[in-house]
Structure formats: structure tokens, C-alpha cells
Point group: D2
């Protein structure tokens, strides 16, 4: 449910305004010595507050590792890491007015009215902090692999304009992975694409995913598409560079008044979302896309039995 992976298992937990969010990572090779500066660098890329484009919420996001490291090296036993929630303003949320485009209503239904509604609770983008942490470890283990993602997104000006108008924007992120060996992935449900897709669609706001220029290829003739340098065939990597794109919807939290329903009465209601939000989540999602990509690929690598 909140767990992913076969040989590198990650389990995430936490709520946006609870004590902490965190992750348990099981399957790190014993002796692996994480470069914590590199981890913090990745955490900072995701952290808010680095530009006027992002939410005003400030979280130190300092990893609190409570197990699995000894003398700075992975012991082989599960590593658990927490990120405390410190800068919460829970008064901003009204549980009976689900915010449009958010998981508020579905969380309310699924968890029978007991979901922690504050800041989206367990469905918050804040849960991507532990994912970036885990991904930062994973990429250190993927020796020879480079994972580069870049946002294809509105300009800073456009974002700030949207913000000023109480609105928000979405965008696209394209990710390139070079240095993968041939032979990662399994047939069918365990294909490299299936595994990465399951991870990428777990990132809040991601609504579409295109592997390897797939949309364009679908309009070509076979004599052309067969010349494409595929990174994945039959679900298995070829050793060539993998390129994919994800498409993110705009941040659903906007300052403009919106229509919703009042869960107490079932009647239509008006809602003005308070709280501090990113007018465009795309820049902060870039390291998240890289992180889950690293997690998925490391798991496939370990599954393959090839040495790291």
C-alpha cells in the first residue's frame, strides 16, 4: 500500500501537519556510506522558500536517521529516517470544505471521515520529502548512472503573474537517464516502464507519462519508429539513454474563491483556500521525479542480480 520495491523496499508514512513524515528503506547494501552533503543538496532542491515561486512554509528537512547506519555506514538492516513537521499552520484548514482538485474529498471517503485533513494529511506533497531522501541514497548507489530532469514549464514571470491573480500553473518535466546497463526490468507487469510508471504516478499532480517520445512515435510509420534508439524494449533496458516526460496539473490550491460542497450538509458551498502554497509545483517536483526514478531503477538493478 505505502510500500514499493522488491529488493529495495521503501515504506513511507506521515502526515503534513502531524509529528513527522518519514520512510523506512530496507535493502541498502551493507557498508554503503551515504554522502550526507549530497543528500542535503537533494533535499534543498525540493525544499520550499528558495524563490518567490514557492510556498512560504519553511521546513528544515534535516534527516533524522534513527536506524540502519552505524559509523556512517549502512548496516544492512532497515534505515528509518524522519523529517519533523515544524512550520505548520493547521488552523488554515476546514475539514468540512474539501478543496477542489485536492485529495480532501477522496481521503475523507476512503478513510471514512477519520483522515487527517490538515494540509492534505498523508496525501500531501510533503510526503515527497522522504522520497527525495531515499532517492538521494539510491542515486549514489547507481554508479555510472546520471539522472537529469528539467522542467519544461512557465517562466518565473508567468508563475508570479498567476500567483498575483490568485491562480496557479502546471507544467512538464523531462527526465533523462544515461549509463544504465542492458537487462534491467522484467516482462509484463514488472517491465521497467511499469515499475517507473507506478512510482511516477504516485507523485501528486502527475497525470500523464510519455516514455521515449511515445506520443510522436504513435503517429509515425514502423520504418521510422524502428530507428528510434529505444532504451526499453519488451520492458527490459537496452543500455541506451532513457528519456521520459511527466505532465503535472496546476497546483489545486489557489487563492480565488471556488465552489465546493459542505460535507456536513451535502450542499454547495464557497471556499477560499488559505494556507501557503506553491503557485507552480513543477520546479520543486523536478528532484522528486529524479528521486523516484533512482529508487525504481536501483530496485530493478538489485533484482537483476547484476553487481552495482
Amino acid at each position: 500500500m505505502n510500500t514499493f520495491g522488491e529488493k529495495l523496499k521503501v515504506s513511507i508514512f506521515g502526515e503534513s501537519h502531524g509529528e513527522a513524515v518519514g520512510i523506512v528503506i530496507d535493502g541498502l547494501p551493507p557498508g554503503f556510506m551515504p554522502d550526507m552533503d549530497a543528500v542535503r543538496f537533494q533535499m534543498r532542491r525540493r525544499a520550499p522558500g528558495q524563490s518567490p515561486e514557492t510556498t512560504a512554509r519553511r521546513e528544515a528537512d534535516e534527516p533524522e536517521i534513527v536506524s540502519g547506519l552505524f559509523n556512517g555506514k549502512a548496516t544492512g538492516a532497515p534505515l528509518c529516517c524522519l523529517f519533523r513537521n515544524t512550520d505548520t499552520k493547521s488552523g488554515d484548514y476546514q475539514p468540512w470544505l474539501p478543496r477542489p482538485g485536492h485529495a480532501d474529498l477522496t481521503a475523507h471517503i476512503k478513510y471514512k471521515g477519520f483522515a487527517d485533513y490538515r494540509g492534505g494529511g498523508h496525501f500531501s506533497g510533503r510526503l515527497t520529502a522522504p522520497l527525495v531522501f531515499a532517492g538521494a541514497l539510491a542515486r549514489q548507489l547507481l554508479s555510472g548512472v546520471t539522472i537529469d530532469a528539467a522542467a519544461v514549464r512557465p517562466s518565473t514571470n508567468a508563475i508570479l503573474n498567476a500567483k498575483k491573480e490568485g491562480d496557479s500553473l502546471g507544467g512538464q518535466i523531462t527526465c533523462e537517464v544515461s549509463g544504465l546497463p542492458a537487462g534491467l526490468g522484467e516482462p509484463f507487469f514488472g517491465s521497467a516502464e511499469s515499475r517507473l510508471a507506478a512510482l511516477l504516478f504516485s507523485i501528486p499532480a502527475v497525470k500523464a507519462l510519455e516514455f521515449e517520445n511515445g506520443i510522436t512515435l504513435s503517429t509515425e510509420r514502423g520504418s521510422v519508429s524502428n530507428t528510434y534508439p529505444y532504451a526499453v524494449l519488451g520492458g527490459i533496458t537496452t543500455g541506451k539513454t532513457l528519456i521520459f516526460s511527466v505532465y503535472l496539473k496546476p497546483t489545486p490550491s489557489i487563492a480565488t474563491e471556488q465552489d465546493t460542497i459542505d460535507l456536513r450538509t451535502g450542499l454547495p458551498a464557497k471556499l477560499t483556500v488559505r494556507g501557503r502554497h506553491d503557485p507552480c509545483i513543477v520546479p520543486r517536483a523536478v528532484p522528486v521525479v529524479e528521486a523516484v526514478t533512482a529508487l525504481g531503477l536501483l530496485d530493478l538493478w538489485l533484482l537483476s542480480g547484476m553487481p552495482l
Copy 2:
């Protein structure tokens, strides 16, 4: 690896030119009485040979159920169903010349030279026959749910032209699912989108997936995108109609001579793919998309604990 599902587990097996392909389905509700005519109807939709657009290979695809049914009703124990391979022409394949755009090379690498190369072996689209069978059962259990997919694809003329010129085409399939209850899906890795994506990307040739108009939404403002009638929020269904599209690359088997490498020597070589192939797989992929959708949704439904 070749298994999918939590409460409805499916395991596929078989190779295109081996004895049979098949599936084990574990978790069917005891007492369920499959409508075998409806199953055969779905099998026929996927079967080749119904129009000049499809391969000339003829397979009866009559389900051979060897367990899990008693007096026509599901016993509760696993149901295993085989589909014999009868119309194989294995002489058409040369194991040392991987066909471009196919899994031949990656299967060769992954399985260390021991893959059954004939007709793509285990990576063949023939493995979708048992998936359509299982999906045909699943959709009968999804009471009140309608799954309609349609190809957005080249015209029959365009396909026949491509075929005549020794070429092939791809296309797009859009699927609409109505009648789903609210509350299906899990947060993050078990989101309705993650689960469906893992299944949809296991269909050979699918290279891109767009949920709910996601590509267009990524270019909208939040004030617009928030008015979209989302079927999934936070990974959980809302009860609204779900729409998604998959994009398929052209059939890689084309009659034109192509470049490949000779695995015996590692040197460039020329290959003319023989065998019988679909100039455009999109029409036959429509029931496959519906089938895996039904499987994924039934698994989520059973997981949710809601009564069927």
C-alpha cells in the same frame, strides 16, 4: 515478476510458439458463474483474422480451463486457463538476428541467450490472450461498471497502404470507465493511476499514458483545471467517469529490409522480417486495454473491502 494483483492475483505464462500461453487467476469470488459466451466474445475481439488489417496467424483461442471451476462456478481456488498454440511457423525466426523495435535483443540479454526467440517468445503479444480472458471474467464481476475503449487510429485504407508498402502504423486508444464507486485506490504507490499504469505499460507497444486530459491540463491555470471532473484525486477514485489514453508505437515487424546486428559476430547485418504480422496492432489492442483495466479495477475494488 509475471504476477499482478493483491486480492485478485493473475500470473501469466507461456511463449508464442511453445505449447500454450495461459494464466492462473487467484481470488475469484466463490460462486461466480462466468458467462462463457461473453468471454468468447472478448477473445474474438482480440483474435486476428477478422479483417485484412490483421495477421494471418489463426488461433482458435478456445479457453482450456483446468481448475477453479466446478459445475460452471468458481470454486474459490485458483483458476488456470490455457490457450494452445496451434498455428505456429517457427522457421520464420532467426535467433541471431534480433528484429529492430522488438524485445528480441533484450530478451536475449536478460535470459542469457536461452530465451525462446520464436515469435518473440514470452514477450509476444500473444500473452495478451490470457489477459483478455482474465479481463473478461473481471468485467463480469464489476457490476454497474462500463469499460469502453476506442481506437483513435489510422483509417483502414491507411493501414492497408502501409501494409502494401511493407510498413506499419501505431495509434492511440482512449478508454472510458463509468460506474466506479468512490474510494478505490490507495495513496502513493498503490494509487489507482499507479496500478492501472503498471498494467497498461505491460501491454506491448504502449509507450505513453495520459489520465484525464492530463497533457492539456498541464498547460491550464488552476482556476480552470480545478473545474475538471476528476475521476481520481490523490490516487483514490471520486466516483466520476475515468478517461485515459494510451499511445502505441507502430508494429515493429515490417516487411522492409532493416538494419540489425548479428549476435554471432556483433557485426551489422541486414534483416527482412518474415512471419505474419499486424500492420497496425491498435484495433486488436482495444480489448486488451479494456481487459487490464478491468483487472486493475477489480483488484482495487476487492482491496477496498467494498462489496461487489
Copy 3:
């Protein structure tokens, strides 16, 4: 549910009086060439009819491999093998009179009255045929490992006497595994003992399991027990010889009239079990114990990443 294993996954299916029982084995190393004579030797050890101690049911138990082998070698894709049921006398069973000590009543409850009741259906010992088949493959892959089990059981005379009196006997099987490397197993739930226990308790009639003289050790002092040559410590193998014992209850099918309840009325009833049965299942269970041991150990070995 009916699946076991992480890197070597087995899925069993079938009912005693249905078309067939069988198994899907996913994760066999590509290129592995099973010695089919050795497989048949193991199947014969489990087969009935080799002495007056066993049931009169005759099954050829010839493996019908429908996938996963090509030119006699494992392809890397799942191997599915069927065993047809040919010698069934289903008229011997009355669905409304559950046999004491059998799974008839619990299967009836669990599967809501739709279980295949004939010969125990899916709960029959006949399902151990595919397990012996899979174990026969697994032990060929466990190079350097010897798995020897022996029944500590009543004499043939005692068995025949019990049979004559319409009664049955149980017994004990002790298994010894030498040649294991150190380092197999995981902490806690994945311990070598936990994994083997899950498999051994899936064998019908096994009701107790003792690892490494554990019952006696529980009455010793630490200064003595610490000198025991443990094969497993902390769930991980030490490289020493592993010894364990399972205890099997007597065959519940006996010719004597017994008390049961009539499921149609809920009232007490009398039942005389017909059908053909083993007066003592212990001799035929020996190869089954060996087989699941081989399966569990091979899975742990593959999980460990050590080369075979």
C-alpha cells in the same frame, strides 16, 4: 495466497478431481536443463501404489510442461506444468457430510458452499504432486546441497493392521540438509526458519515442527545449548547441517463409521468415508518435505545474491 517465494515464485492450482493440478514456477535460471529422469524419480517416490501401505488411486503423474522450456532448457520465463487427474471416483463423496479431520467443513465455509468437495478439492494432498515436481527442479539447482528426509514412523505391519481395522496412523519425518552456505535467510519474518515453517505447515497433516533439536534444547541450560552446532542463528544459516522434524497427524480418512454433521440440516449424522486412502501418509510425505525444503532454500539462496 497460493503463491510462495520472492525470487523463485511458485503458484499452485488444481483440485483433486478436476481436470488437473499444476504449478507455475517463475524465476528458474535461464539455461537450467532439468534432468527429467531425476524429476520422475522424485514423482514416483510420492506416487501411490508402490506398496500395500498406500491408496489404490493410480495416477501417472507424468509432467505436462506447457511453457518455460525450450530445447530442454529453462528459457527464463515462467514454467507451467500440469498433472492430469485421470483415476477419479468422484461418486465416493457426499458434499453435505464433511469428513472429520478433513478440510471439507472449512473449505465449505471459506468458499461459501462452492468449494469443489470431491476428494478434498483444492485442499487435497494431490496438490503436493506439483510441489514435488518443483522441488525436484529446485534440488538440482542447489549444487552441493544434500536433502535427506526419513520417516520415523510405524512399521509396515502396524500400518497394515491399522488399515485392516479401518483405522490410520500418523508419524514423524526428520530432514537433514547439508552443504548449505552460511548467510541464507533474513532477520525476523524472513528468517530461514520462518520461511521453511510457512512451507512445511502448508503440507497437509503437518501439525508440529522442531528445528535443531529445539524441544530438548528448551530444557537444557545455556552452557549446554550453546555447544549445539546450530545451522540457523538469528534466522541466518551458519553453514552447518540443518536438521528439523515435522509431525503429521493420522490420515483422517478411515473406514470406520464416524460422527459428523449434515450441512443440509445442521443435525448430527453418521458418515462412513469411502474412497481410496493411505492408511498412513507419512511415507509418501517424505519426498514432499524434501521438495518444499528445496524450494524454500533455493528461494533464500537466490534472494541472498550468492551465485548458485
Copy 4:
């Protein structure tokens, strides 16, 4: 690996002398309001220091719940709970001298020399603290079910004598579970016995397990054993009271000098185990046996789809 459960998933982490041990519990019913006094009562039963029979190590074992609860009620999202390690004396351990009967050597091998060796690290009995916590929640959810375990063990005098002589003792725990519904469990690998066995053998020191008087039954005739009031048949519960026994080896930590090998040289060496230890772990293992039993049964119950 360190995860158990299908519908109620628990993942344990931590090392004996690290920051903390803990657990993530996924699948608690939303709205469930744990009685924390009852939880603390269970924690105290396992805690050391309540009698001269137990180790002198003192840990508050106060649950630090960091997620999954909101206003004292389960949110439906994963609950993570930590137990800080506060009273550690790590200087007592020499990594190059593995303690006989402990996991020191196997952990060293499995984790390639990087295991946290202090106090047994991840293999320590301290990891049972989070299991007792989780079990305390589970038993509250098992309405109508009573789980009573009792040690069949040496007298306090015998334990204190052994301690005085620098020695230790083992023992037996018998557990009785009443109030279970009929129909829990799955055939074969998912049998109630297989699931419970996997959990019970994950408790350090457990070396044997007897369900339902199984050892005695193995020596009876079928006409007698068939009259036993079985709680499990074919892996599925009957609704009758379940009884089983586990056998624990003596605490391997004893004050007497013992033989070991020096991992630096591979040569024989002498070792006197320091540290604080239980001369007989059996009394403190009683609540652990109950806890994992509750976890296993709750998971089976949730899997069955029956309402709690």
C-alpha cells in the same frame, strides 16, 4: 524482508544500541481509537526489570507515535511508532568475538562485516518491543477474541540458581486463542498455521512449534485424532479454540567463559559475555508470543473480508 502482512502490514526497524527501534503499521482501520493504557500494560509485561529474573537494562519503552493518529484515532494512513534506546552500554561488546548461540556470526557474514554488533544490533530481542506495541493494537481490534499465553518454564528459584551459576534456561510457552470465527486462513502457503509459524519463528530463541497437540496426535490412531477439536483444518479456522506451544532455547548470553573464534584471525578464542541479560527469556517472551499471534490473526481476519 522485515515486513509482514497482507492487509495489515508491519515493518520493523532499529538496532539494540542505535537511536531507536520502531515499527510502521499500515492498514489499521480508520477511526480505531487505541486504548493507550492497554498498550502500556502490554509493553510493561515485556519490559525488563520487573523481577530479579530479568536483565538490569532499563528502558522506558514509551511509545513515540509520529504518524497515523489524529485526535487519538487512526487516520487510515500508516502509523509509525518509535522506542528510543536510552540505557545502552555498548562498551560491553567486542565485534571480533561472536557470542555463541547468538546471531553475531551470521549477522557478520550476511551483512559483510558492517552489521551493528552492539547488543545484537538488529537481531536483538529488543526488536520485539515494537512487535508487542503492534500486537497490543491488533488485539484491541480482534473483538471477541481472547489470547492467553502462559510459560511452562522453570521456577523462579531454578532461574535464579542458573543465574548465580553464570548459566541460563529456556522453556515453553503455550498459547490459547478463543473467540476466532470460522473461515480465517488460506489454503497451503497462506494457511493459518503457515502464517502464524512465520511470525512465531521470527521471535528470537523459538526453535519448535506445536499446533493443537500435534506431537501427541502424530502417535495416535485416526479414530482417536479425528475426535480432537481442531481449530484449524486445511489451513482454515473452524471457530474452535486454538492451542499451540512454542519452545525456546536458553538465553545464549551466559556469564561463564565460552569458546568462540576471533574473527580477526580465524583462531579459537575465549569469550566471557558481559552486558546485562535475562537468565531466562521465557517470561518476557509470553507477551511477544501473544502479540505476533494477534498480528497474524488480525491480518488473516482483514484478508478474509469478514467485518471486525
